[in-house]
Symmetry: D2
């Protein structure tokens, strides 16, 4: 029975030849030819949703409705991730149960986790799999350079952390109980196929929820809004709050990667940071907020008095409402956005450099030890050196009490928050130059054109940013 009201699968239709040849590897090659990191991100997002246009997706599906894309192209995601790579990661000896890998099962309504302690070696992991357990790899970007590369581009599109898990499920089994998550989910079917059932949020309160659900029972579910078998190359998107469960048909295993974003990224999350700052500013600037409460308010306010008609109640409530409304005159919105950006930059994956980017950056700088001493050491940035940011989204200026801080992502780890937030404290007079670099991007600018006072300062700033991998030069810095 076809579920009512569900989204239609959109057949991909004919695509321009060569457009997606080469799967993800080809995609990443094509993106590397784009100058602007924001354009790369947009392009990857377009590819992810193709043939649905991003604008269409945002209008009709994002945070609204599931989207099912049947591409009929098993090679669409080729090169992103495979069970063979998963096997290689196990073989590498750095995958640990619990930290990186969960062994799970769901049968007869019972959801279990079977993680032993310690290192997840192939002999043990595959034995679990053969016994019907699902394998969830929690941080594939730490083991797969391609997943890392893919997500590091995508995160700039979302402006919010892009994470991923991969799920390997044996034929004829299900690994997880039905539940809903607190993130926007893109399911990319990498190998085999999997049956999915997706259900609408059950109540208004579960629409775009702040927190994931517990495991649900089948009895708590209604009719699915979508029931389908996802095949290799297909995409399934559903918003947070949509309950879902996936199980394998008897004849095929399934490997998919779920790309996620927009966890704790709502207007309310923003207000949580903004309101205390706004109130603090209002308290400092406006005496109305500092005036004392009425001496007798405890007598006519309070739940026990909530049904009382009393002019003093009305006045009190109106005063509170007016003070709340007047807060909008004090909200430091831009400063609060910078604080969110700072937090996002800490969440970010570090950028993946192409070979030519590497050659133009400190990572490809030819300084090395040779013949008993270092050679090619001097970073010869001059007034004529043409520079630009490595990516648009890798830096953020924040005015903080302690000074002007430039937060950046190039020294982040592939492992979530393994490194502390990285930042440089900048002399406030360098602010303009950083903003100039941001607004000039993706064009190169001559160091001479940086709006610093002296040439020495221009070169000093450029060198500092170059050494941190934030700036690249138009031509590889040659040794003189």
């Amino acid at each position: 029975a076809k579920p009512r009201g569900g989204p239609k699968a959109m057949p991909g239709g004919p695509r321009p030849a060569g457009e997606d040849s080469g799967g993800v590897s080809g995609l990443l090659r094509r993106l590397a030819r784009l100058e602007d990191s924001r354009q790369r991100a947009a392009e990857l997002f377009r590819w992810l949703l193709a043939p649905v246009a991003p604008a269409e997706f945002l209008r009709r599906h994002w945070e609204r409705e599931p989207l099912l894309l049947r591409r009929g192209d098993p090679g669409y995601y080729a090169g992103l991730f495979s069970t063979a790579e998963f096997d290689a990661a196990l073989r590498g000896g750095e995958v640990h149960f619990g930290t990186h890998l969960d062994v799970t099962s769901y049968a007869e309504g019972v959801r279990e986790t079977h993680n032993p302690s310690g290192r997840a070696l192939p002999a043990v992991v595959w034995d679990f799999y053969q016994n019907g357990c699902s394998l969830r790899l929690l941080c594939p970007q730490a083991f797969s350079p391609t997943v890392w590369h893919f997500l590091s581009i995508l995160q700039e599109q979302f402006g919010s952390m892009a994470g991923a898990n991969t799920y390997l499920t044996p034929p004829g089994t299900q690994g997880f109980a039905p539940h809903y998550d607190d993130i926007e989910a893109f399911v990319l079917q990498l190998e085999g196929k999997k049956r999915w059932r997706v259900y609408r949020p059950r109540t208004d309160a579960e629409v775009l929820p702040q927190f994931s659900s517990a495991n649900l029972t089948q009895a708590e579910l209604g009719e699915p809004v979508l029931e389908t078998v996802l095949e290799t190359g297909d995409l399934l998107y559903f918003p947070r709050g949509f309950i879902h469960q996936g199980d394998c048909l008897p004849d095929a295993h399934s490997l998919h990667i779920t790309v996620s974003s927009y966890q704790r990224n709502s207007w309310g999350d923003f207000l949580e940071k903004l309101l205390p700052a706004a109130l603090q500013m209002a308290l400092e600037e406006e005496v109305e907020y500092r005036r004392g409460l009425p001496m007798d308010y405890l007598q006519y306010m309070g739940v026990a008095n909530s049904d009382t008609v009393d002019a003093r109640r009305t006045a009190f409530v109106e005063k509170v409402q007016s003070l709340i409304k007047k807060l909008v005159d004090y909200v430091p919105i831009d400063a609060a956005v910078d604080q969110r950006a700072k937090s996002f930059l800490h969440d970010c994956l570090p950028p993946v450099l192409t070979e030519s980017e590497k050659a133009q950056s400190v990572y490809g700088f030819p300084a090395r030890w040779q013949d008993g001493g270092p050679c090619n050491v001097d970073i010869l940035i001059t007034k004529d050196t043409e520079v630009r940011l490595l990516r648009h989204g890798i830096v953020r200026l924040c005015n903080e009490e302690a000074g002007v801080m430039l937060y950046y992502t190039t020294e982040n780890s592939r492992v979530y928050h393994k490194e502390e937030p990285k930042f440089l404290e900048l002399d406030p007079e360098y602010t303009d130059s950083v903003e100039f670099l941001l607004s000039s991007y993706p064009n190169h600018v001559s160091v001479a054109n940086l709006p610093c006072e002296t040439l020495e300062e221009k070169i000093s700033l450029a060198t500092l940013l170059f050494e941190k991998g934030i700036l690249t030069t138009k031509k590889p810095l040659a040794k003189i």
Copy 2:
């Protein structure tokens, strides 16, 4: 030179004979004859400000302007506190330096504290005094039953903690540097006299400030708005933020008590509790708050973009403003007031009972050990027993996650926060009865009239509240 714009000293004028005879002792006796604790509080407040009417005070002075009352009546505060009582407290051996008593000096612009460690015994304390040090007793209500009684009544008027310090200053000295405080201050001159200089807040930001100032230098002060010599029986009031300094003339020592209130009791303090609760409710009830931020907001928002004209910026700001304004639909004002009330009840001094109140309460209940066994033990509350709350302001009902809690002050300590907040968890069905007791106050009601379902419940509730000292009976409970 008379300071410009300062408040005029209001001569007390003739008073009806006997009205204030007996000083504070007489006052407390008169108050004891009033049935309603709110009336007692209002009356004490009126007496404190007499001959200025409270309404006049609130309109013209409270949080606005200093008020100087020259009463020409050295006996006005008689019985409240004296140096002799202070001496007796030292003699009692329970006054400790630092905890209860500060020894200070201010000379040639240098403010010092001279507290030794340990117990403050008369021989040592008076030696400091003889050497020109001022003595600040931090918690006179813990040592003086009258101060305790006085403040315990006054706190119900303020709806905010009423605290006090006493200051004993040797002739010809000053004990403290000029500064402003974060509380409304009532200076009651108890003995001798003192010269006061009061200055307006220096900036808008220092009007009704949230926090006290550091010690100021004379150079930081302008012209005083008020300069006067306060004499025994006089009152000086000034709002928080008004800088002040007091010093003794060469010919007389000074003892005054400063009664304070309204610390952290502003609209802003209220909003600090209210806003997070409002946002949480909005998040739960209104999907608009849970929707994701725009994907690209980090690019056009932020301080670096604050001067940019961009329709997306306008939309973002308007959205934030609209969400803030819409918060007023969700503000749980009454619940937040109850939380403040709960906090105030924790700050409160426990009530002081008159002899007849004691006889009507559990504190005067005749249960005792006699002739080898307890006698008069049974608390015989029946349907006909007439009861009322000991005071109106000693209880508060709060609906909390864990249940309905009745907070109360009768088991508080005279020492600030020495006891944890005291509360009873009540079956929700008792809520109506508590509200009935509150609304009936100061009239007595028969236990039979409590809106509980069964007589057993009525008696059980009344007994519980009686045992905690919260309820009193019209007639002392006689043993049968």
Copy 3:
């Protein structure tokens, strides 16, 4: 049936007339006539055990066997504590359930605690009692000046904290399950009578145990070594580890006070502090302790090798044994004793002064506020003033890293550890004077005779100690 091997009740026999007339009040009066606090302590101890001589008690009972003294003198403890005083304490409103008072029951093998929260008022407490509950007052010395006085003397005899609880039990009930404690217990029957059953430690490990037992069942007990009915004026002593239970006969309530001491006061407790200090000294002074372990010791040592015969094992063990034995050359025994003394002084009750002692001390110093100013302020200690310590056991000198500290008890609280340890940092050159005061005690010495370098120092030290209540003068310091 008479238990086998139990102690014999010792009939008091005839006592010299008047010797103990006046009960405890008379006793304390007699003690006040003794000059030396150590003598007072010894005398009180003798009185406690009379007619058994202390030496006899220490030889045959202390930490060995129970002792039952039937005095046939119901007035022996008169004045120490009574149910009437307990009732008065309740009436005072400062007794709180849990903190000061436990309401307990033991019936049909079930031991329960019935503490409500908050203040323990007579009406509620006596109701529990009437319903068969026992009442344990945890800190009678905080409510009864006599108990405080009594224990403050006794603690100097024990050199270990002397504590107390009182127990009031209704007729025909038992308040506690059988158990053993970790303290030496002296049960003083104050009112009524109580049946006691005492049992030997069940195993070697339970002889003089470090920790109290849980509640035991009757089935876990054997035959009592002693079964008796304790009557007013009688004493029952039993060492830690002896199981005991007491219940009231149907015809009489019981009030007794249990005086306790020697908690954590064993040789082992001393070694716990001493050994780390000894090892640290040995490590610093003796290279043998700093030499490396044998490279291969992990291979032949360890539990798995414990049955192996191996010369290397023997050598290893012998080396360890020799190093342990050699520790005795480094044990800083005296310093460790001083640390225990410091800890004991923190546990101590503050001294109770007689009227004449008060007159000779800072507590009776006539400094006071009078006629608008302090009078009699100067503490005129001169070279001729004769001084001595208030008590021998109220001070202790400790050489610590931070300096020479004089710990003292005069500013302790009657409530256990309510005050931090009190101490004065002394210039090391004052050490001799403090030791001189200690060794001269109970004789007075002239200030001139203190072994300080200058007279100024002598007076300064004497004044400091006088101000802390540590020194008294032979004659009250008169004002000149």
Copy 4:
């Protein structure tokens, strides 16, 4: 001038051809042919000290005197580590300043650290070097598989953590101030040459010290006991407490690795764990330790009484001494050794497997993903499978309160303490089998011969240990 009393450089003399051909790579190949890990460790130690025999070294130098070995063989350490490998590590982007790399200088008596924050990239690092800074790589074993391999073998010889730092110093500079360390140090000159000056401990207390010194000034040093120029291939050993400083001649840079061990590995460190355990056992088993202290000991003991002659003092001291000496009857030496072993196993590097060892272990087990499913998954251990421990020193049984724990090193990280201690809780009945495996090592035993009760248990235990990499099989486990 030749320093007096210093050690003689020992010329290596002729060595059997081929014995050390191939430097460290050849050494590790030769070691791999030895069956027993203890033998490998001993052999590596012999090679490290050659041509001095280990026994000779232990007798004359270890913890006693420096040893200088001039080998005249620049290729002796070939393959262990080089500046080229250091450069490659920097290039890898995972070296961080502070965490892994220190940039230091010492000039004109001033020792400085110049670490920037973040990633240590070649361009920046070599710039520091060119400016005369020394580079200390703190954990070369994390970046160099050979250093890891080398240390992982050596640690089994020491029975104590073997650590390492490498130091790269520019010509004509010195990177560190003179100081002494708290570890035994083996300086292996890898490239270039360095002048060393070594000084005897200055006082008895600095012989084999527990803690490293601060930086010392030249003025604090006496005459060196040894002054030499270490050349590539040479070894310099000195015990903890020997002050040392090394500087480069103007004509050559220097790279050396300092291998260290025996930090906190003295008899005293052992006693620190042992004594509290011994006292606890004594307290439990021997009533003498639980008896109370004498009532009056505070009066005659303590520093103030230390010069007093008093029989009670003598008795007290003798009692303490006797109790300390009697502790030797209770010392749980073997259990304490097991606790040290457990701690050592946590410090250990994980083992490095040769190719053939890998084939015989779970790390080479052929389970893998192939053709859409796992293959070769079953670990077919049968009664006839011959097994042995991978190394002797990788496991330790500890009897703990929670049960019998088998601690092991195979899941440790190359980064110090990055992983928590790894252990398996074993059924106590498996203890014998683990001990059997330990005592049989390096011989293989049939699973059938394990002293478990049933064959199922034997196979289960062998499989468990095999899966953790602890057991290897004589023949690679073939798939059936």
